[in-house]
Symmetry: C2
Subunit: 264 residues, 2 copies
DNA sequence: AAGCGTAAGGTTGTCTGACAACATGGCAAC
DNA sequence: GTTGCCATGTTGTCAGACAACCTTACGCTT
């Protein structure tokens, strides 16, 4: 595992992708780039505690040889690990594993993707539920007129989408982001935006034909209206409760899918 | 601004750091690396919407010439932007600005650091308050015996630190992380750990001589004990309320510091 | 005139070699 | 034992080259 040759893996991945393009395989290891694979390979070894905090990683030259790639590729992988706060490098000395108090970035994707995708989606939704409910509560207390106008704009755009039975996921995002903005806490706003981006694929389900058939879009819309009114009336407790319940619907849908999956 | 020469800036930054080392200047632009500066330069231009979503960035060669650095440096900066989901690159085509729905990493540091550091700390604390309160509520509902044991271990280590008036910040971290782990939601656990890491410097104040003098450590300890008991008794509402109040104390201390700052 | 295949040039991905900047350990001088 | 210097190793940066790939334009066919 340590001395794997990436070019070999890459060849296999390429072949797999070629098959996938023909519909033979659904979604496996992407070919991406050598640097990407080196990054994930090193990240995996870091997550497995192959090296302890403070330990010195092999030299760039050694890493390149063990993975069968050039130093430039290794350097890009190390640069990303450094940007995430996983390692620190000192010119002339080497690269060292940094302790957890240096973490500089939060990502939702697992290097070891052995976890069930649905479970991961569920976990992110729970985190989203907590943060968005808190954001709504703050928004009710701090919203200005301009904030209300922004939320209303997104709300009306969504109403129009529902009426036309078209995809309103972009406006859905805008609605939740506008509420987060109304909290007047830029970190919360940025984080809500980030969490929203983690669902760019799965959330579409609410707005496609199936979603309209089941009536998800309509129910979500009445949720949204109620949340807006609570924020407008500065009823923080209500905004929090409604927002929490709104995300709970999405959670319940994921739980249903998980049950369906187990039955098969 | 666009055609700045990084080597020039670097020279100035080096000189500034040299002065700082002699105590003349406190903390200014770090010299770091050329790639680091190129990354922040590009990030700043992206945040200022210099290019619209989908626009093509200048070629690596052009970027390198405009910043006065080699292509290798530019490539490292672009690699980091790509890892954050800010841009996408296609071999043979170029680098393109991606839309916000591709965000792949959450960071608390601002590229445009024109914001008050205290305000930023306040905003992160508010986010932390929301997430940790939610995590405590879930922990109360889902904790196993092993989770309780982990929390208790950290709690007792902190008690010992308080008794010895030594630095217990590491155990403080461990306590909050253990609660987040007890939520049995790995994303929440990871995020709480990440937020904790954003305070590696400022949180020490609770545990130094001043903190002991004011009694912050002691008060925090009674908070911790109460939170633990609520989780043990599976009283989610209480755990949530106590955790919220606990972080509120830290928020209030920051607000005090902000007032002191305004007076000067 | 419209469609299509091909060739040319441009751009990113990767490799190689080189040198500068810095760190570390050992050795010699005191 | 301590100090200072030097050889060696490592990371940071640069330059050039080629492969893989994309885009565009040109010329040919229909």
């Amino acid at each position: 595992m340590l001395s794997d040759n990436l070019t070999l893996e890459r060849g296999i991945a390429r072949a797999a992708t070629a098959l996938a393009d023909h519909g033979v395989i659904s979604a496996l290891a992407r070919p991406s780039s050598l640097a990407d694979e080196a990054y994930h390979s090193l990240l995996l070894q870091l997550d497995m505690n192959l090296w302890k905090v403070g330990d010195k990683l092999p030299t760039e030259k050694a890493l390149g040889e063990s993975l069968g790639v050039s130093r430039a590729v290794i350097r890009e992988a190390l640069a990303r690990l450094r940007a995430d706060g996983r390692i620190e490098t000192r010119q002339g000395a080497g690269a060292f594993v940094s302790d957890r108090s240096k973490l500089a970035a939060f990502r939702t994707d697992h290097a070891n993707s052995d976890t069930d995708p649905l479970k991961q989606e569920l976990e992110i939704l729970e985190l989203r539920q907590i943060v968005e409910a808190g954001a709504a509560e703050l928004a009710a207390a701090r919203r200005h007129e301009t904030d209300l106008a922004n939320i209303r704009t997104a709300l009306e755009a969504m109403l129009e989408s529902v009426a036309k039975r078209s995809d309103g996921s972009a406006h859905d995002d805008a609605f939740h982001n506008a509420i987060a903005q109304a909290s007047h806490n830029s970190q919360i706003a940025k984080f809500v935006e980030f969490l929203g981006a983690q669902f760019s694929n799965s959330r579409k389900a609410t707005w496609d034909d199936i979603g309209y058939g089941v009536g998800i879009a309509a129910v979500g819309q009445s949720d949204h209206s109620a949340i807006y009114k609570a924020i407008e009336l500065q009823d923080g407790a209500k905004a929090k409760r409604l927002s929490h319940a709104h995300v709970q619907r999405a959670i319940d849908r994921v739980l249903l899918r998980m049950n369906d999956q187990k039955v098969e």
